[in-house]
């Protein structure tokens, strides 16, 4: 079949940030296939220079409002690494909790408000208010609960306030922990309903084998905040070697940087984590995974949405046991941090470099700072999950388009949009907008 297709999705919607899909098929031959990022660059790494390391998490959380907690946590981790501070067990638990809340929030947002309209054949959740009112209410209720839990723990979800170098400025009281536990347990029925909802959805069948990258560990915990960097192709490196994993490189025919590891591209995110650490999922989550037909190594990128649901269950259950742990341990309020104490030089500052690697909802997020002996940032580098996925998305599109050439333009467009959305790309936070290609230059 030879036909011309010209798809230009100007302003891809229901993703965080601005991206355009450009596909050009001439006489059945794929000429152009790319995802342009048109988000206005914000130069965060540039403007971090000269700022105190104690402001870094506050500033970098503003890279992205959707995964602000993950950015804060990656930033804090990098800063603590540079300052050689080891967080307490309590702090680690609370941070894990915060990340769980955000992952839940972000995944649920994606499943319900961003991905499900495609699967239900509407443009957005707005028409669903009439047709699927209970579903929309459930989605908003779940989201609100995640948000409220973040508020208790970190002041708010968007740009958390309490999480800081050394720990938390405000530790949850006994009543707060009870309230969180209550909310978590209260989410269970809605999550069950979500599982039911998702299992009625049919994800497009499309497969492309690729390399998956995520944090990995040797212990029994599903690694989200700690661990080494690992891949399904058998790579394993310490987090300080993150540059060897991300391998930002220049493509000869384009001025843009791509990332790759063992092959032409790699993917991060829920599916990657699941493919690498499936066994460490909470049993409940594993059950859901097998019910959804998800098992490693799953190479259908559309299934990322299902993987998010599985992780949601994991996060919920793990959060519940973490809160129970914290309640049993009892919170040590002496650990409360007075922020700004650096103004009084209470945390010893030294020159150094530190890396933070955190599993953000969308994949591995790296922050890396170099500071001088006054704690002033000299260099900063942040590598965002979406940046790492862009290359892989384009490769997927290249394989997908020829397979669906028999479909109408509208359908092709939808398939492509859905593909991009399945990665839940967070373009707004792409500090390195390295993926713009200028094919027709």
């Amino acid at each position: 079949m030879s036909r011309d297709i010209n798809i230009n999705v100007d302003y891809l919607t229901r993703v965080e940030g601005h991206g355009n899909i450009v596909v050009n098929v001439k006489e059945g031959r794929l000429e152009t296939c790319r995802l342009d990022i048109v988000e206005a660059p914000r130069f965060f790494e540039g403007l971090l220079r000269g700022r105190s390391i104690f402001e870094a998490q506050h500033i970098t959380s503003r890279i992205c409002g959707i995964c602000a907690c993950a950015h804060s946590l990656a930033s804090i981790q990098a800063s603590e690494d540079a300052l050689s501070i080891t967080p307490s067990e309590q702090t680690v638990k609370l941070r894990k909790l915060l990340l769980h809340f955000e992952t839940l929030d972000s995944h649920l947002l994606h499943i319900y408000l961003l991905a499900s309209p495609d699967l239900l054949g509407v443009k957005s959740f707005i028409p669903l208010i009439d047709t699927h009112n209970q579903v929309v209410r459930r989605a908003l209720r779940l989201k609100k609960t995640c948000n409220d839990m973040c508020s208790i723990l970190a002041g708010r979800h968007v740009h958390p306030i309490t999480a800081t170098i050394g720990g938390f400025t405000k530790l949850p009281g006994k009543k707060d922990l009870d309230a969180i536990l209550n909310m978590l347990e209260g989410m269970r029925p809605d999550i069950e309903a979500t599982v039911e909802f998702v299992s009625t959805m049919r994800f497009p069948e499309f497969e492309r084998d690729t390399e998956y990258v995520a944090l990995v560990s040797d212990d029994n915990e599903y690694p989200l905040l700690t661990g080494d960097l690992g891949s399904t192709d058998g790579v394993r490196k310490g987090k300080r070697e993150y540059r060897d994993v991300t391998n930002e490189f220049v493509v000869p025919h384009s001025s843009a940087k791509h990332t790759r590891l063992s092959r032409e591209s790699y993917a991060v995110g829920s599916l990657a984590r699941l493919n690498l650490s499936y066994d460490k999922l909470h049993p409940e989550a594993k059950e859901i995974a097998s019910a959804l037909g998800l098992k490693p190594k799953c190479i259908n990128p559309y299934m990322n949405t299902a993987a998010q649901l599985v992780e949601s269950v994991h996060c919920l259950e793990d959060a519940i046991s973490t809160v129970e742990d914290l309640k049993n341990m009892g919170i040590d309020y002496d650990e409360e941090i007075v922020v700004g104490l650096n103004e009084q030089s209470r945390i010893p500052v030294k020159a150094g470099s530190g890396v933070g690697a955190v599993e953000a909802p969308r994949g591995t997020l790296y922050h890396n700072y170099e500071i001088d002996e006054r704690g002033i940032i000299q260099h900063a580098n942040c590598i965002i999950p979406t940046n790492q996925n862009l290359n892989n998305i384009e490769r997927d599109m290249e394989k997908l388009v020829p397979e669906i050439l028999d479909k109408s333009d509208e359908e092709i467009t939808l398939y492509l949009e859905m593909l991009v959305r399945a990665y839940d790309p967070c373009i707004s936070c792409s500090t390195h907008i390295v993926n713009v290609k200028f094919v027709n230059r």
Binding site: T13, R14, R42, V158, T169, V339, E343
Partner: protein, 250 residues
């Protein structure tokens, strides 16, 4: 009393989109809001698009390049009411920190020799480019304030961002003052309206809501020296959100 629902669209410029997310985070209250307005475009969560006249345009983000300026002006032209939404839009916000650097230099730092593909200009707040009818400041926006502004818009009455210090709300909330902890807090010079969000969480105020109209700058400096807080540290902190203050409106 049923009146036609105003057509509302959200637009984002240079920002983290967290303020839009704040709206989605309101839970079922969102449905109450959607009951009184007709959201016709909201790219973050909707595919619908709208290129006709608008009753209310809600602008998130700062203006950092020529394209953005043009796009914003077009939106202004077809919108009856324009709301600057969030600190990036209302006062320039964190993007203003870029103005500490030469645009070419910072471009080179981040993108290397390809920096010219990403032309950038001095960051400006929305009101520094077009007329703004309402401002919801804050990083992120404080949803109760947003709802208040929205109601003011629907009623056709003005909303004034409070012109007094965050300290007022901080005291109403009976927080221990950061100065008691010998920490420099920007509350005394920052506009209230956030219900002293950060200090309620035992952090300091970072000044994200903009500076009051008549700050006592000399007095504030004296206070810092009273508490032995390095002045440059705090001045820098003011820049974190308020750098665009330096740009004079044409």
């Amino acid at each position: 009393m049923k009146r036609p629902k105003p057509k509302v669209a959200f637009f984002d410029f240079a920002s983290c989109e967290g303020c839009q997310l704040q709206v989605a985070n309101t839970g079922e209250t969102l449905l109450d809001v959607l009951d009184v307005i007709d959201v016709v475009e909201f790219r973050e969560i909707m595919s619908e698009k709208w290129d006709r006249e608008l009753d209310i345009a809600i602008i998130e983000g700062s203006i950092t390049d020529h394209h953005a300026e043009e796009r914003l002006k077009q939106i202004r032209e077809r919108s009856r009411i324009l709301i600057a939404f969030g600190s990036c839009a209302a006062i320039g916000g964190v993007n203003g920190m870029k103005n500490n650097f030469d645009p070419d230099e910072i471009g080179k730092y981040v993108y290397g020799s390809d920096y010219h593909f990403f032309p950038t200009e001095k960051t400006r707040a929305v009101h520094q480019v077009v007329k703004v009818d309402y401002s919801v400041t804050g990083c992120p926006v404080y949803i109760p304030e947003f709802v208040e502004v929205l109601k003011a818009v629907l009623q056709g009455i003005p909303y004034y961002v409070p012109d007094y210090a965050v300290c007022v709300e901080c005291k109403l909330n009976e927080n221990v003052c950061m100065y008691e902890k010998r920490v420099g807090c920007l509350g005394p010079v920052t506009r209230a309206g956030c219900n002293s969000w950060c200090i309620n969480n035992r952090n300091m105020c970072y000044g994200c809501r903009g500076i009051v109209s008549n700050p006592n700058e000399k007095g504030a400096k004296d206070v810092l020296s009273r508490y032995n807080i390095p002045l440059d540290l705090v001045l820098k902190k003011i820049d974190m959100y308020n750098k665009c203050r330096e740009i004079k409106n044409e």
